[in-house]
């Protein structure tokens, strides 16, 4: 039973990340996932210190606040004329450093495992269950990831047109009166929430993998946003299932194996995608050459 829970949780995390990752990629902000996932660390520590417990809710709020704070700092720096990559690295490294310093300052009070924050351990997910009205409802992490996914689905469904327009042509969106900044921060908020819901299980850095790799794979396979969103969710699920069995086979970290599968799928798409693939394009060119 526990393996089913792990696969299910992994699939939910992977698909909710992949779903939002599509928009990040289209907006050329893929590394923002990396920045957010690092900068939530001080938020988690502060929430832990303030609430004095490992209650998920305060941690969730703290992390989401710092995730948003990071995107706001990045935007402010960029508005001051700082180069985009510099703005990003300066803000997230500083926030991450503050997080580590907070942990080392309050070592006695904080029994947060740094390794766990960074690598995550999805294998422990089934043991931390959520009981509601005395009924065991399954792993808490699964419900968290599921709720985050549902929230992003609802938001994107409601504002699909706006998200699409701001992703592809922000200038046009601005001209026709779409509040571009609002949708930027809405997306950032959703990414923060999803990152926070996922990092416990797959770790801060592998959230980045789930955000970017399936979406990038889908990006190579299609030219339509709707199809890309669906494909990336599907790829995320495949990563979870295959990653779990690979990890059993190799006796290694499940999250790591999920990433490896995602990387492998991307490599396949990179080489053999019907229109974009390197090998397919070479094949088409060769066929054309023999035709003429």
């Amino acid at each position: 039973m526990s393996s089913v829970w792990i696969i299910l949780t992994g699939a939910l995390i992977a698909s909710s990340c992949a779903f939002l990752g599509c928009f990040l990629i289209l907006r050329r902000m893929a590394m923002l996932g990396d920045a957010i996932s690092h900068s939530i660390l001080p938020g988690i520590v502060i929430a832990f210190l303030v609430s004095g417990s490992r209650d998920p809710l305060p941690m969730f709020i703290g992390a989401a606040v710092f995730g948003l704070l990071c995107t706001i700092i990045i935007q402010l720096l960029r508005n001051q004329g700082v180069q985009a990559d510099a703005a990003m690295s300066v803000s997230f490294t500083a926030l991450f450093a503050i997080g580590i310093i907070l942990i080392s300052l309050f070592t006695q009070q904080v029994d947060l495992d740094l390794d766990c924050v960074l690598y995550g351990e999805i294998a422990y997910v089934p043991y931390d269950t959520w009981t509601w009205n005395g009924i065991d409802m399954g792993p808490r992490a699964m419900w968290g990831a599921g709720a985050a996914f549902l929230l992003s689905l609802i938001m994107v469904r409601l504002f699909y047109k706006q998200f699409k327009l701001t992703s592809f042509d922000p200038a046009l969106a601005m001209a026709v009166g779409v509040p571009v900044a609002f949708f930027h921060y809405l997306l950032m908020g959703l990414v923060s929430v999803t990152t926070v819901a996922s990092f416990e299980s797959v770790g801060a850095i592998l959230v980045v993998a789930m955000l970017i790799v399936p979406a990038a794979t889908a990006y190579l396979l299609t030219e339509r946003l709707g199809v890309m969103l669906g494909l990336s969710v599907l790829i995320g699920m495949i990563c979870s299932v295959c990653g779990y069995f690979l990890s059993v086979l190799l006796d290694a970290s499940i999250a790591g194996c999920m990433t490896m599968v995602a990387g492998g799928l991307f490599a396949l798409a990179f080489l053999f995608s019907p229109h974009q693939g390197v090998v397919t394009r070479w094949w088409i060119r060769k066929k054309l050459r023999t035709q003429f």
């Binding site: 690295s89 500083a94 991450f96 450093a97 740094l114 690598y119 993998a209 970017i212 290694a252």
Partner: protein, 423 residues
């Protein structure tokens, strides 16, 4: 704090972090100018599988083997990065995140495999990634120092080529320099700089040490050679400050303190830098606004044609609100350039009247200059601030154009008025 300088080990750590700051400051400048700031992050993460592989193959934790392994996967990562952006429609930022996370994922798989198998002495392998500068010993610093020295030497030998690569790669190509090779060479230097830093500083710190000193230095200068020197100094300074602070407050680890020190320097520079800093910029903005307002009011006063005028007439003529004009007049009353009369009118002093007519005339001359671009002269239109800046010959030329223009305008006006009268 004095004890720090007596303790031999602490001195090694100090030397190590300072050297690290210098070499990453120098190479970070090139990465910054190539807009590859996030490269440090990617290379640092992609070192993990290399470290694990080196350990799997050699079974030892000899830093040299681990360095070689990390360099190997770092280079592989940068190769993948350039392939992905070159052979598909995937953009640079996505490729960065893709390579970073996939390499790190592979690294974690290898790491957990090592942990689950029977290698007894694997403990501390992951510490390679989070940095442990407090435990640096003499041999580590010696390796780090000598490699840093070689890196700085190589960067200075190939300074000219790297400069070309950063600013105008296409021009370099046309000159016959192997730009792709140079790019790979810069990548190699960066990989090595990141890898030697990892042990002392950890992944996140390396990302910060590579980019933040360079972007800080960018605020202070417009020249590459100065920028590199400043960036190296900032890297060294933050290494020093971070190490000293962490030896004072023993609970805090060195890496994050160095990051905070360098970030603090960055924000200070962003505020206070002489030309590009925020304070200097806003001061300049205020000055320019005041100058433009003065010109506007002078021109309006001149157009009214009388030294003594009312406030409302001036505000109407200059298209400024009465409060704006009033504020300006108050300032000028203090310096005596404007005198308030008893009837509520204002009189401009003689010197300022001359200044006002000069400003108005200069405005007309400049209009002529913009209209007739074929005017032959040595000076550039941007250099002219006052009427006296105009050379005599140019002034005569502009004068004649202006006269011609005015007489044409008059003729047109006269023509229109006669037509209207004729109707």
């Amino acid at each position: 704090m004095l004890e720090l300088f007596r303790d031999a080990n602490a001195l090694w750590v100090l030397a190590g972090t300072t050297l690290l700051g210098i070499s990453s400051g120098v190479l970070g400048s090139f990465a910054f100018l190539r807009k590859r700031g996030l490269m440090g992050d990617v290379l640092a993460h992609s070192a993990l599988p290399g470290i694990c592989l080196a350990f799997l193959f050699t079974g030892s934790k000899n830093p040299l083997w681990l360095l070689i392994g990390a360099t190997f996967t770092g280079l592989l990562a940068s190769l993948f990065l350039s392939w992905i952006t070159r052979f598909s429609k995937i953009k640079e930022d996505t490729a960065l995140g893709l390579v970073l996370s996939t390499f790190f994922g592979v690294g974690i798989v290898l790491l957990t495999q090592i942990q689950h198998s029977d290698f007894g002495n694997q403990a501390g392998l992951d510490k390679f990634l989070f940095g442990q500068s407090a435990s640096l010993v003499g041999t580590d610093v010696a390796i780090m120092g000598s490699i840093s020295f070689v890196l700085i030497l190589l960067a200075s030998i190939f300074f000219k080529e790297l400069k070309l690569l950063c600013f105008d790669a296409n021009y370099g190509k046309s000159l016959g320099f192997p730009m792709v090779g140079l790019d790979f060479f810069l990548m190699l230097l960066l990989v090595v700089a990141v890898v030697i830093g990892l042990q002392a500083a950890g992944v996140v710190l390396m990302a910060s040490l590579l980019i933040t000193p360079a972007s800080t230095a960018r605020y202070w200068t417009e020249r590459l050679d100065h920028m590199i020197i400043i960036s190296a100094c900032i890297g060294a300074l933050s290494g020093l400050v971070g190490t000293i602070l962490s030896s004072v407050a023993t609970k805090l680890s060195t890496g994050p303190l160095i990051v905070l020190a360098v970030t603090l320097l960055f924000f200070i520079s962003m505020l206070c830098a002489p030309k590009r800093g925020l304070i200097a910029k806003s001061l300049r903005l205020i000055q320019t606004r005041a100058k433009v307002r003065q010109e506007q009011i002078y021109v309006a006063w001149n157009q009214l044609g009388s030294k003594t005028i009312t406030l409302s007439a001036l505000s109407q003529q200059s298209h400024l609100s009465t409060t704006q004009v009033h504020r300006w007049i108050k300032q000028k009353k203090r310096t005596g350039q404007v005198v308030e009369n008893s009837q509520g009118t204002f009189t401009l002093s003689d010197a300022s009247w001359k200044e006002a007519s000069d400003t108005a005339l200069l405005g007309l001359y400049m209009e002529m200059w913009h209209m007739y671009e074929d005017i032959e002269t040595d000076c550039s239109i941007q250099d002219i601030e006052q009427l006296s800046d105009l050379p005599e010959s140019l002034r005569v030329q502009l004068q004649s154009y202006l006269q011609k223009h005015i007489s044409e305008e008059d003729r047109a006006k006269a023509y229109h008025s006669t037509r209207r009268a004729g109707m």
